[in-house]
Amino acid sequence: MKRVIKNKKEKKKKLFFHSNFFPKNRRGQITIFIIIAVVIVVFGVLIYLFYPQIQEGLGLAEKNPQAFIQNCIEEKIEESITKLSLQGGSLSPEHYIMYNNSEIEYLCYTNEYYKTCVVQQPMLKQHIESEIRDEIDEEVDMCFNSMEESFQKRGYEVNLRRGAKNIELLPKRVVATFNYSLTLTKGETEKYNSFVIVLNNNLFELISIANSILVWEAKYGDAETTTYMNYYHDLKVEKKKQTDGTTIYILTDRNNKNKFQFASRSVAWPSGYGI
């Protein structure tokens, strides 16, 4: 009896491997594997695209409103910071120089030779804060709408009152504060008066250095990179002078590779006498 069972198992195994599902010829097997690979890729793409909905459908959506907003908007803020850091603090630079495929905004500029530059962006920190805030504005609304919808689907009565959005660059971090008031009621009531997202980033420190370089550029037309690297041991300051007299400064935090780059044209020298 035992023998029979074993034979049956072997037969089943044989049937499986000898079936048309796994063709005998090599080319057929390769085709099958390709199809499987394509299916896996498509499946992966679908999961990626519809992850929030899938999460929601499976009841895995974030139950903490604060965490929901953080997950939703964090990437967009990081993206904006990275982009504007490489473009002299502006997401759409108006007056810029192209360098390594980046449009780098002039923070100080003169179109004349031998003269020190005129500061173009004296309120750099505030400018960057408003740039980030404007950039994430729509995304924030979408995130809150999505959160509202998500909680409503889960049977909550949602009362969302929209308020001000604020971005603040602080030492070692960027803080996004949304003064939105949210009340969730499902039996008991939960109330959230504001949503705060904190991102670890050294933009504040890099901007402080940029401001200092800017002062040197405006006063003397140049800045010494090693001075800053001596004071700040984890800072890398690069200075790239261009043929037209523009200087591009690249500030990099050696620990986390946070970068801020900007351009200045000050005390430019012509070829010859320039007359």
Binding site: P122, M123, T225, G272
Partner: protein
């Protein structure tokens, strides 16, 4: 009628002058076209005239202004200091319109920042940190960190201020916790915060938690750590408190059999370093990074986690050498660059000597680095920090040059420093004596003897008088002589500048032209159909004598067109100084040609040269010289 003509002439002249002047008028543009920069002096057509200069309080766009004057004279583009009252930063050279625009306007002040009270700097001490900044900035920083400030206006320099920054006195804070005597290495103030309710914490200044006399649960450990904001490697005690600077001799490891006599004290009290780091010491030697954690960023090392093949005797952290690797540097100086060293990038090539011809002699600086002064060439400064070399280009067209020096002897203990400095070549040519020419405080020039760039009214080179001043040969002076000949001299740039000679409308041609020397060479020649007669002789086409023979020490080459009537002149009268130099066969000496070309090259991107990648230019020097003698012609 005559009067009318005069008036007409004056009128036409006035219109001409006015038109020239008006063409040159510069406007102060609040903004340049195409979203350009703010507040620039530029021609009118470059000024933005649309509504593109911000918004008013109602949110309506503001039209950009432009007036035919300098920006300094306008109300909106006057430069002053922009005070950021939120962050306490003062930014100079800011136009009023720029400072006061935008969502977060600053406060504009026409005074220099040194005259504005809000911009006065002082020493801001926050925690263990210090910053030389404004009071507003100090308050702003303290609010970020939630710490109290100590703002000292009596400290007037950044160096003094930073020297004041330092750790507060630390010690061991001993407290009872879960029936055990625990300990935390901290400041007195922080220790007092642990004193709450029934908990009592005692502070022992200068003590380590591992001190046996304190009777805590903490003891010596062979674990080490890096501390944020500090360079050195520190021991940890068994409670995780930071102890003294790592010194393998004091390791509590059972394998460390030769513990010093003050071992107990090392683990009891806070001490300065007990070892001196020597990055070049062999592994296992005293002071080697393996055994000593006394890293110093300024001396070229800092605390980093160890890597395979680079492990300390104890723990997982080591003083890492922050130096860099550079083959060229090593080839030249016999070692790799150290952390913090800066040096100039060099191009490989032979130097040419200005004055290879004995007729032109210079001092020891009469050496032109041929490869560093070719068209397209540029100086670079290299900077070694944190194991990385960054390249800093100096200004293009050699308007900046890289200069370097060293502190001490290289390689033994020496340290190289370099900087891009402004090439002050502009007024070299106009200097008429050696003293002014070699005044390094004012210019980067050098004095050469043998040829004069400066000419008198008759286009003859100036010669030196006995006072060493260049004067015209026709002046009534006592002239300097050398071997019976008058001495010509020139002041030329020490580092020849670059020109954008390929662009139209540049001054490259004029600058190079300063070195042009017309030397007249007299020939005897047969008459030809293109030649003419002058001075009783027959002359060939300029530069192409059919049967020419140079006359010794004479430089008269008569052109067909002879407006100066040179050909009628006596040769000696025409050629008082050495201009062209000939060999025995009356051939122009190659060395003379070389020197003339070198003078050209010293003026800038002039003459016949190769470019920075050694490609020859379009200009062929040899075509400019008559090089054939009558004998050769006959041959």
């Amino acid at each position: 009628m005559k009067m009318n003509k005069k008036i007409f002439f004056i009128l036409v002249l006035s219109i001409f002058i006015i038109s020239i002047v008006s063409a040159q008028v510069s406007y102060c543009c609040e903004r340049l076209v195409d979203n350009g920069p703010w507040c620039q002096n530029a021609p009118e057509e470059e000024c933005e005239t649309g509504y593109n200069c911000g918004e008013d309080i109602n949110g309506d766009p503001i039209a950009c202004r432009s007036v035919p004057t300098s920006c300094e004279a306008t109300s909106y583009c006057r430069l002053g200091t922009c005070i950021n009252n939120i962050d306490g930063i003062c930014i100079p050279n800011t136009p009023q319109a720029v400072c006061e625009s935008g969502e977060n306007p600053g406060v504009w002040d026409e005074r220099d920042e040194s005259e504005i009270p809000q911009c006065q700097l002082g020493c801001c001490l926050i925690g263990e940190q210090a910053a030389f900044t404004t009071l507003t900035r100090c308050k702003s920083l303290s609010s970020f960190y939630g710490l109290e400030i100590n703002y000292r206006t009596d400290v007037q320099s950044e160096i003094q201020c930073i020297a004041l920054a330092g750790p507060k006195v630390k010690g061991a804070c001993v407290f009872d916790e879960e029936f055990q005597t625990n300990c935390k290495s901290t400041t007195k103030a922080e220790c007092q915060e642990l004193n709450a309710g029934e908990n009592t914490a005692n502070f022992y200044e200068g003590y380590l938690c591992s001190a046996e006399s304190l009777g805590t649960i903490c003891g010596p450990s062979e674990q080490t750590t890096c501390v944020e904001g500090k360079d050195k490697v520190y021991y940890l005690d068994t409670c995780g408190n930071v102890a003294n600077i790592y010194d393998a001799d004091y390791s509590p490891s059972p394998t460390n059999l030769n513990r010093p006599g003050d071992y107990q004290e090392f683990w009891s009290k806070i001490r300065t370093s007990t070892c001196t780091l020597n990055l070049n010491a062999g592994a296992g030697d005293d002071g080697s990074p393996e055994r000593c954690g006394d890293c110093d960023y300024f001396a070229g090392s800092t605390c980093k986690s160890s890597e395979r093949g680079n492990s300390p005797a104890y723990g997982n952290y080591i003083c890492k050498d922050l130096g860099c690797e550079d083959e060229d540097f090593e080839r030249e100086y016999g070692r790799n660059p150290e952390h913090g060293e800066t040096w100039c990038a060099r191009t490989v090539g032979e130097n040419i000597m200005l004055g290879a011809n004995p007729g032109i002699t210079g001092d020891e600086v009469d050496e032109i680095d041929k490869d560093s002064n070719n068209p397209g060439n540029r100086d670079f400064r290299l900077v070694c920090y944190n194991n990385e070399i960054s390249v800093e280009p100096c200004a293009d067209y050699r308007q900046e040059v890289c200069i370097e020096s060293s502190i001490g002897e290289i390689p033994a203990g020496g340290f190289k420093t370099a900087a891009c400095t402004v090439n002050m070549w502009q007024d070299c040519y106009s200097q008429t004596n050696e003293r002014d020419c070699n005044n390094i405080d004012k210019r980067d020039c050098k004095w050469i003897i043998g040829v004069s760039i400066l000419k008198d009214e008759e286009d003859k080179g100036l010669v030196l008088n006995t006072d060493g001043e260049l004067v015209s040969i026709s002046d009534d002076e006592d002239f300097e002589t050398e071997d019976g000949n008058l001495v010509e001299a020139s002041c030329i740039p020490k580092y020849s500048p670059g020109f954008d000679f390929w662009e139209e409308g540049t001054d490259a041609g004029d600058n190079c032209g300063k070195a042009s020397t017309v030397c007249y060479v007299e020939y005897s020649a047969y008459a030809t159909e293109i030649g003419g007669t002058a001075g009783g002789g027959l002359w060939g086409e300029k530069g192409k004598p059919l049967d020419a023979k140079c006359m010794n020490n004479c430089r008269a080459e008569c052109p067909i067109d002879d407006p100066l009537n040179i050909c009628n002149r006596n040769c000696e009268e025409q050629c008082p100084s050495q201009c062209v130099e000939y060999d025995e066969d009356y051939e122009i000496k190659d060395s003379w040609k070389e020197d003339m070309n070198n003078i050209c090259m010293a003026m800038g991107d002039c003459g016949s040269s190769v470019n920075y990648i050694n490609e020859p230019g379009y200009y062929d020097r040899d075509k400019d010289f008559v090089s054939r003698s009558s004998d050769e012609e006959e041959e």
